[in-house]
């Protein structure tokens, strides 16, 4: 009876669609209906029209690539930073304030500056995503490395383990659930960075965010809705993907199972 738990969300989904139709056909007069086109028109025009579909999927692919590459770079730099900070507390004391600043300044507000310096190309888009995604990975990894139990450290000390063995066989495995939690948070942020950052990029290949801005200015509301839905789908896919990864990789860890649900 596992399928039964899908029934309540499906009912909610049906209700939302029904409300949408009601708003389109009851609240809006035909001349204002472009503000909220009916769902079937969004699917028909946005996804079944071959030209629109090609444009949307090309944008989605580009934004997806930007988000994942930015995330990958943030993951490598973030985990390495956290390991270094866990080994040397002076390094943590020196770097931590700036990580907090990095987290608190609105990175998206810096996008025009990055564009000014590096141009509005692929590199800058990836850079924005990597900067946005960095902080949760560093803090979660650092927390994970520190969460190792004292007796486990004693066990390794008694066996005269070196720092590499301690890191590789104790700290990193213990931190893995936390690293994956950080990655999942960062993945969501990275997708946001890719889509919202796009609003600033008028040149080059259009990403899904560029298209959203374009359709808005042209009042192409069916395409606009389709683009928004696809951007949301990208975020959702990344979220679910990392959730599944966390569940598989850390089945031994009870807390991880709760987090990944």
């Amino acid at each position: 009876m596992r399928w039964l738990r899908w029934v309540p969300p499906l009912i909610v989904f049906a209700l939302v669609i029904a409300l949408w139709y009601a708003a389109t056909y009851v609240l809006l007069t035909p001349d204002r209906r472009f503000l909220l086109p009916p769902p079937d028109a969004v699917v028909r025009v946005g996804l079944f029209d071959p030209v629109n579909r090609a444009e949307l999927f090309a944008g989605l692919l580009l934004s997806g690539q930007v988000a994942l590459l930015g995330l990958a770079i943030a993951a490598v730099i973030g985990v390495v930073c956290a390991i270094a900070m866990a080994q040397a507390s002076w390094l943590e004391r020196s770097l931590h304030p700036y990580l907090v600043i990095l987290q608190t300044i609105p990175i998206l507000a810096l996008v025009p500056l990055f564009g000014f310096w590096f141009g509005f190309g692929f590199f800058t888009r990836v850079l924005v995503c990597a900067l946005i995604a960095l902080f949760p990975i560093v803090t979660n990894t650092l927390f994970g490395l520190r969460s190792v139990e004292e007796t486990h450290h004693d066990l390794f000390t008694l066996a005269r383990a070196g720092w590499a063995a301690r890191l590789w066989k104790l700290q990193l495995p213990a931190a893995l659930p936390h690293i994956l939690t950080g990655l999942r948070v960062s993945a969501g942020l990275s997708v946001i960075g890719a889509v919202v950052g796009d609003f600033f990029f008028r040149q080059g290949e259009p990403g899904i965010g560029t298209l959203i801005d374009l359709y808005r200015s042209r009042l192409q509301s069916e395409q606009l809705f389709a683009a928004v839905a696809l951007a949301s789908l990208l975020g959702l896919t990344v979220f679910l993907g990392f959730g599944a990864l966390a569940r598989r990789a850390t089945s031994w860890h009870t807390a991880a199972r709760d987090v990944a649900r």
């Binding site: 139990e149 004693d154 390794f156 008694l158 066996a159 005269r160 031994w252 860890h253 009870t254």
Partner: protein
């Protein structure tokens, strides 16, 4: 057969006979000023099973950490004359992401034994604690008693001549606890390591040990010591014999003295 007077003679005997572990006037004061242990004289001969009994927070764990070399004495000295020390932690300290076998192989891995050798030692130790069918289980799927068996097996892979046990059965239920006590004595009979077993249970100490040391409340110092004359193997019914009750009564009296 036992007397408080023997405490004073402890240092003298240690000078005469070969010992696996000896404390002379050892004390430990932590950086925050807490005096955990004070003037502890203790010798453990090879093949001897010493139980250390005391109220909670009396520095029993500190005594074991000193014995293992995990921390240094701030007064007096601790000398170990062993080639290999095994340590069994209070909370079993198994790595949850490793299977039973991988956990038991860990120490060999860290000491750089060859894959074949550490596998051989691990399988032997797992057999010895009666977990042969569970090599591929993860700790999460095992009961508390089985986890403690794994922890014992891991300590045995270093082929210890001194085994230090920090309240290993403290969190187990009575039945599992008694079963594991007999198991431990069986392993002790097979491997003839010297053992220091920290516990707050008087019955456990009398059932297991050849010698019992009683510690006072913090700062922990030795307030009583006695030999336990029962030969091994010790049957479970020993717990109900008059001699057992007499020794347990004496140890309890020392413990009550510390609480006053």
């Amino acid at each position: 057969m036992w007397s408080s007077g023997r405490v004073l003679g402890e240092a003298a005997t240690s000078a005469l006979s070969f010992s696996a572990l000896s404390f002379s006037g050892a004390g430990k004061r932590y950086d925050d000023g807490t005096q955990a242990l004070e003037k502890v004289d203790l010798t453990v001969a090879p093949g001897q099973f010493v139980a250390v009994v005391g109220p909670s927070g009396c520095g029993k764990s500190t005594l074991l950490r000193l014995a293992a070399g995990l921390t240094d004495a701030t007064e007096g000295s601790v000398r170990r004359d062993t080639t290999s020390v095994g340590y069994v932690f209070q909370d079993h300290a198994l790595l949850p992401w490793r299977t039973v076998r991988a956990n038991v192989e860990l120490l060999g891995e860290l000491r750089g034994l060859s894959r074949a050798e550490r596998r051989r030692r691990a399988d032997e130790a797992i057999d010895l604690v009666g977990l042969a069918g569970f090599a591929h289980h993860r700790p999460r799927t095992l009961s508390g008693g089985m986890r403690m068996r794994v922890s014992l097996a891991r300590a045995l892979t270093v082929e210890p001549d001194l085994l230090l046990l920090d309240e290993p059965f403290g969190t187990l239920d009575e039945i599992t606890r008694e079963r594991l006590q007999s198991e431990l004595l069986r392993l002790f009979g097979l491997r003839r390591f010297a053992a220091v077993f920290v516990t707050h249970s008087v019955g456990e100490a009398v059932f297991l040990a050849t010698r019992i040391i009683v510690l006072s409340e913090r700062p922990g110092r030795i307030v009583g010591a006695c030999d336990v004359p029962f030969p091994y193997p010790r049957p479970a019914e020993l717990r109900f014999s008059p001699d057992f009750a007499r020794i347990a009564g004496q140890v309890s009296a020392w413990l009550r003295g510390t609480a006053a």
